[in-house]
């Protein structure tokens, strides 16, 4: 009790909220930006070292088995691969920082050009998936919380546990088997989008990868929503709202929803981060031309600049969403 009122007094003494909140925000953002830079730098080192350590000699692979050793040495020199590792790294880092991701070893085209369409495709897929995932998770989480421990809730919990425990790859393959090939054969089993076309011009191709992403996302996010809703429904203020004789509708949507939403927003942001990581598997599985499948191809083709660029990109995106989640979380608490 004593401490409670003490903090209260401290709050009263604090400057007006608008100013202090802005000031309070500046530091966390600056700190996050700083850790972001450091983290990305660490990742760049790891990525660089790891890609250098990939088995196989690049020049040999490019030139084919019949190449003479002079040709190989020449190419290595052209690519800068004969330099010491440190100077190669510094060169590469310098280029990346000035926006030059290098050229693809396989096709010789600039990486940035090759990737821009892929990035667009992946982003489209992720955004559409999130547009479905967020409202669906809210509705399902809310229903499960309201019917807590009833049959509906138990059935839902069981299913979602199974889905979460199954690897995306397996779910994807099942979906393909079910709708794309063996059983119903109503949808194209691969989602090839011709280069130059926007993904939404081919809605049928998008259905299956989206379905898998939404299924996985909703089962994860709706469980979090369910938990935060249950917390809120058990809170004293919802109890007081019931005691005041308010209608169920008003209690659920006006009293419970805003409070349950708050902790779900950072969760949704984390969700977006995982969707980016998970897209590698799903894009590859459906042969969807995004950066995930580009990564798989690049690794297979020993296309080091491509691999490095894609991993850096994904790491940056993952990091941003994670930090966003964290920031939203702290904002929430300070409210």
């Amino acid at each position: 009790m004593a401490t409670e009122t003490m903090t209260e007094k401290a709050l009263e003494a604090a400057p007006p909220p608008s100013r202090s909140r802005r000031a309070a925000l500046a530091w966390p953002i600056a700190r996050r930006a700083l850790t972001g830079v450091v983290t990305l730098w660490c990742i760049s080192v790891i990525v660089f070292v790891a890609t250098q350590a990939m088995p196989g000699d690049v020049a040999h692979i490019i030139l084919g088995p019949g190449a003479s050793s002079e040709q190989v040495a020449q190419l290595n020199q052209n690519l800068g691969l004969d330099q010491p590792l440190l100077s190669q790294y510094l060169d590469w880092l310098g280029n990346v920082l000035t926006g030059n991701m290098g050229d693809s070893i396989v096709s010789g085209q600039p990486v940035s050009e090759l990737l821009s369409e892929r990035i667009f495709n992946s982003a489209t897929l992720t955004v559409i998936a999130m547009v479905f995932i967020i409202p669906l998770s809210l509705v399902i989480g809310l229903l499960a919380a309201v019917f807590r421990d009833k049959l509906l809730d138990r059935a839902y919990l069981g299913t979602s546990l199974i889905v979460t425990a199954t690897p995306d790859f397996v779910i994807g393959s099942l979906v393909i088997a079910l709708f794309g090939t063996v059983v119903f054969k109503v949808l194209p089993p691969v989602s090839l989008i011709p280069p130059g076309d926007a993904p939404w011009e081919h809605p049928r191709q998008l259905v299956m990868p989206l379905a898998v992403m939404v299924l996985v996302g909703v089962t994860y996010l709706s469980r979090l929503v369910r938990v935060s809703f249950i917390d809120v429904l058990e809170s004293e203020y919802v109890q007081l709202a019931i005691i005041k004789g308010l209608s169920m509708r008003r209690i659920l949507f006006l009293h419970a929803l805003p409070n349950a939403l708050a902790p779900s927003i950072p969760a949704a942001s984390i969700m977006a981060a995982y969707t980016i990581a998970g897209s590698v598997v799903i894009e590859y599985l459906f042969a969807y031309p995004g950066i995930g499948s580009a990564l798989v191809d690049a690794v297979a083709g020993h296309d080091l600049p491509m691999v490095q660029a894609i991993i850096m990109l994904m790491a940056a995106a993952f990091f941003c969403f994670n930090q966003l989640a964290d920031l939203l979380g702290t904002l929430n608490k300070s409210r």
Binding site: A2, T3, E4, A10, P17, S235, E236, Y237, L240
Partner: protein
């Protein structure tokens, strides 16, 4: 017809155990009934059941609650909702958690009301003014977390008042408030109910609070009503042994009285009894008390009590009347001091919370430190212990300088200066048996282990009246009072010369508080010096020798307890004393209480 008529109200948990057993009472409009009982006696459960509501896991299994002619428990869910909206207001125990952080004050105040929006707003402004809050739009746009605790409490009261209900239920609405705010809120409640002709039920664990607002008083224990009657009947001539015992355990600011605790501990929720629920702890128990449950019978004082021997009790309770303890001789000043503090200043960041605090503790003396929350009491104890970094001041212990930081203090000094906190969970490791908790400091300070250490631990636990058979239990298996005793035992094994007690009784029920205070008194008689920090003036009166009064980080008054509490000099102390409620006693001089 009475405004409120409750008959045979019974609430049981899902597993069938009864937590509220056959509660009945009636209220005229304008009357306030105080419902008093210790923690877990079922007060809140009754309060909620008056609205036809039970928390998850509990169900109302029988009885009638008739408010304004409507039996709430016989209604369909929709009708019940309408009835709650129209007939009853509820003021929750803790407004900080019961107001919705996402909604404005205005939304929460108007949403339960029946009429048109246009009429409601002026009504709300009127009510806000009645409870002493601003009523302008800027205030209405605020969210609950932008208000202080006292303001939140008033908003909650305004919320219940706004719709002019037949009945208002208050569930401990003043627990979190400091004495002066509490006094103001109580005065307001009593006035509002009388002026508006509303009946109200006022739940509290504090007899003084109930005695201030209640026209009627009902005493609950283990889910049953043990005594009910008018305020005078129940508080001035209590008939039931439990009511009497409860009154005996309340400290007074007016006299240094010994406190009498109730032996044993309150039964767990849903415990089954064949006979009287109080039999295990009753001083008047006979064999027949345990055979059949006593009915609620009218007594010669006018109240009703659930006791078979009530007339015998009434005739013989006089032997319980207490003599005030002898005045404490002022200890010799020149015998040096155990601890002396000069010009202690402390801050948190840029805000300074302690200003030039100075005091001495003489050997064998108990120094009371009183002040409201936020006055800096806890910061002061943290400074003494050496846990607060941001401090400056001169400490001396037994004439030798005492380093201000814990890490600079020698082992010997640490052993001499022991402390007990408000929440024993903080200092007792939940995964360690209590025997272990007491042995650890022995090992640390004296290098004692094995049998010798256990013997010492046993001795210390017995000194605080914890039987050795409890030694292998974990803190969670003990009651709050027992945990506090273990924390005290742990400090005692170190053989300290000074014990610092920070609010150690404020989380305890009065009867348990009485037993802890009496335990400290025996230690005091053994010559231990203590610093006893509390917001409760009555506790200081019953145990302190000298007292310092802290207000906003400064010592505003200090001196002998007798002198300070009988004739306070500083206006702050006077105000504090005036706002501290007292239970009227038949043996005390006439009181000057409001209401």
């Amino acid at each position: 017809m009475k405004a409120v008529e409750v008959t045979g109200l019974t609430v049981a948990l899902d597993d069938g155990s009864v937590i509220v057993d056959d509660v009945s009472f009636g209220l005229e409009s304008g009357q306030v009934m105080g419902l008093v009982g210790e923690s877990g006696s079922g007060k809140s459960t009754v309060a909620l059941a008056l609205l036809g509501f039970a928390k998850a896991g509990a169900n109302i299994t029988g009885g009638k609650v008739v408010v304004g002619g409507v039996d709430l428990l016989a209604l369909s869910p929709n009708e019940l909702r309408e009835a709650r909206k129209k007939l009853i207001g509820f003021v929750p125990q803790d407004p900080a958690t019961a107001l919705n952080p996402a909604l404005t004050i205005r939304a929460q105040l108007t949403e339960g009301m029946l009429g048109e929006k246009k009429e409601n707003l002026p009504r709300i402004r009127e009510v806000l003014e009645t409870v002493g809050l601003p009523s302008d739009n800027a205030f209405l746009r605020r969210h609950p977390q932008e208000l202080s605790g006292g303001q939140q409490q008033r908003v909650a009261i305004a919320m219940a008042l706004g719709k002019k209900p037949e009945l208002i239920v208050f569930d401990e609405p003043t627990t979190g408030l400091d004495v002066s705010t509490q006094a103001r809120v109580l005065e307001m409640v009593a006035g509002l109910c009388a002026d508006n002709g509303m009946a109200s039920v006022f739940v509290s664990h504090d007899l003084a609070v109930v005695g201030t607002v209640g026209d009627l008083v009902t005493v609950m224990y283990a889910g049953q009503v043990l005594e009910t009657g008018s305020r005078e009947e129940v508080l001035l001539s209590a008939a039931h042994p439990y009511s009497i015992a409860l009154l005996e355990s309340v400290p007074s600011t007016r006299q240094r009285l010994p406190l009498v605790s109730i032996p044993g501990r309150a039964p767990a929720a849903g415990a089954k009894f064949d006979g009287c629920v109080f039999a295990d702890r009753c001083a008047f128990v006979e064999d027949r008390c345990r055979d059949s449950a006593p009915p609620l019978v009218a007594t010669s004082t006018g109240s009703s009590a659930r006791c078979l021997r009530v007339e015998h009790v009434l005739q013989n309770q006089r032997c319980l009347v207490k003599e005030p303890l002898p005045r404490v001789e002022s200890r010799e000043e020149d015998s040096g001091s155990v601890l002396s503090v000069r010009n202690l200043n402390a801050s948190y960041g840029r805000t300074q919370v302690l200003f030039d605090v100075s005091f001495n503790v003489a050997p064998g003396e108990t120094l009371g430190v009183v002040g409201e929350s936020g006055s800096g009491k806890t910061t002061m104890s943290r400074c003494l212990i050496g846990l607060h970094e941001d401090q400056s001041g001169i400490f001396e212990m037994d004439g030798k300088p005492l380093p201000p930081r814990l890490r600079d203090r020698s082992k010997e000094v640490k052993q001499q200066l022991q402390y007990v906190f408000q929440n024993p969970y903080g200092s007792l490791n939940p995964r360690e048996t209590i025997a272990n908790a007491v042995v650890v400091p022995l090992k640390h300070f004296y290098g004692e282990r094995g049998k010798a250490a256990r013997d010492k631990a046993k001795e210390a636990l017995e000194r605080v009246e914890i039987p050795w058979r409890l030694a292998d239990r974990y803190p969670a298996e003990l009651s709050g009072g027992q945990r506090q005793r273990v924390a005290i035992a742990r400090a005692l094994v170190c053989n300290p010369s000074l014990l610092i007690c920070d609010e150690i009784t404020s989380a305890l029920d009065v009867s348990v508080q009485a037993s802890v205070v009496e335990l400290l008194r025996t230690l005091q008689n053994d010559g231990l010096s203590m610093i006893f920090i509390t917001h409760n003036l009555a506790v200081v009166r019953s145990i302190g020798d000298r007292v310092i009064v802290l207000s906003q980080g400064r010592v505003v008054e200090s001196g002998e307890v007798e002198a300070v509490l009988t004739a306070p000099q500083h206006p702050y102390t006077r105000g504090l004393l005036a706002d501290t409620l007292e239970v009227d006693r038949s043996d005390a001089e006439t009181s000057d209480l409001p209401g």
